[in-house]
């Protein structure tokens, strides 16, 4: 998604501290200060009009002093956990048992989905990772409309690489 937005003309806010690796061969496009927003939100005004990558748990930290468009990427939870387990293994770190994490992420997402519509500073578009791979044109249209047609659709489409859809379930 970050690659798509960046190529489409919504520049990714990144410090390039986390370099590309086997798990993310095109790079992470992350911004370290986004992880510390709760303690220090002073970077936010400079991020206006740009794309910032955040995991769902950090959305709670966004202060209502700004307005945000959230493109919420959903993916089959088994595929997410499979991918995360491989990343953790490569980092030499342990993962909790899959069934426990399934349950915990389920609770986390349920709570978040209840909370998001109550936040007037957050506008949310849900995008399925799997739909994006299977029907990119429709999903890119939805994303462009959500962002007031600012990003270029063709450029966004050109950033989608189904070869990077790894850790997929056998029936996907």
């Amino acid at each position: 998604m970050m690659q798509m937005l960046d190529r489409g003309g919504i520049r990714a806010l990144t410090d390039e501290i986390r370099a590309a690796d086997t798990d993310n061969p095109r790079g992470y496009l992350e911004y370290e200060r986004a992880k510390k927003t709760k303690a220090d939100p002073s970077w936010l005004p400079a991020a206006r009009g740009k794309a910032v990558k955040m995991v769902s748990a950090l959305l709670y930290d966004l202060p209502p002093t700004e307005k945000y468009r959230i493109i919420f990427m959903n993916r089959d939870l088994d595929e997410v956990l499979e991918s995360q387990e491989k990343m953790l293994k490569r980092l030499g770190r342990a993962a909790a048992p899959r069934d426990q994490l399934q349950q915990s992420f389920g609770i986390h997402l349920d709570r978040l989905y209840q909370w998001l519509p109550t936040q007037t500073h957050l506008q949310v578009l849900q995008i399925s990772y799997n739909d994006l791979i299977n029907d990119p044109k429709t999903e890119v249209d939805r994303i462009a409309s959500f962002l007031d047609d600012i990003p270029a659709r063709e450029e966004m489409l050109s950033a989608i690489d189904p070869a990077l859809y790894r850790n997929r379930k056998p029936d996907s």
Binding site: R18, K35, K36, V55, A57, L58, Q84, M87, L88, L91, R93, A94, A95, A96, Q100, L101, Q103, S104, F105, G106, I107, H108, R111
Partner: protein, 61 residues
């Protein structure tokens, strides 16, 4: 049904509060309170586990 002992003063407070809040009995209020607390604890555990996983991946600090 398992029986649980609670302080009689606390039970009386629960009975009065249940009546005021429209519960059918003190038992119903106490059951609701236990269920609410168990849900809260379960959610806190789940959020902690998710945070640990995301921290391990470098996505949060």
């Amino acid at each position: 049904m398992t029986k649980v002992s609670i302080d009689s003063n606390l039970y009386e407070r629960a009975r009065q509060a249940a009546e005021k809040a429209g519960f059918s009995s003190a038992e119903e209020l106490i059951t609701t309170a236990i269920e609410t607390e168990l849900k809260r604890l379960g959610e806190a555990d789940a959020e902690r586990q998710v945070a640990d996983q995301l921290r391990g991946l470098g996505y949060i600090e």
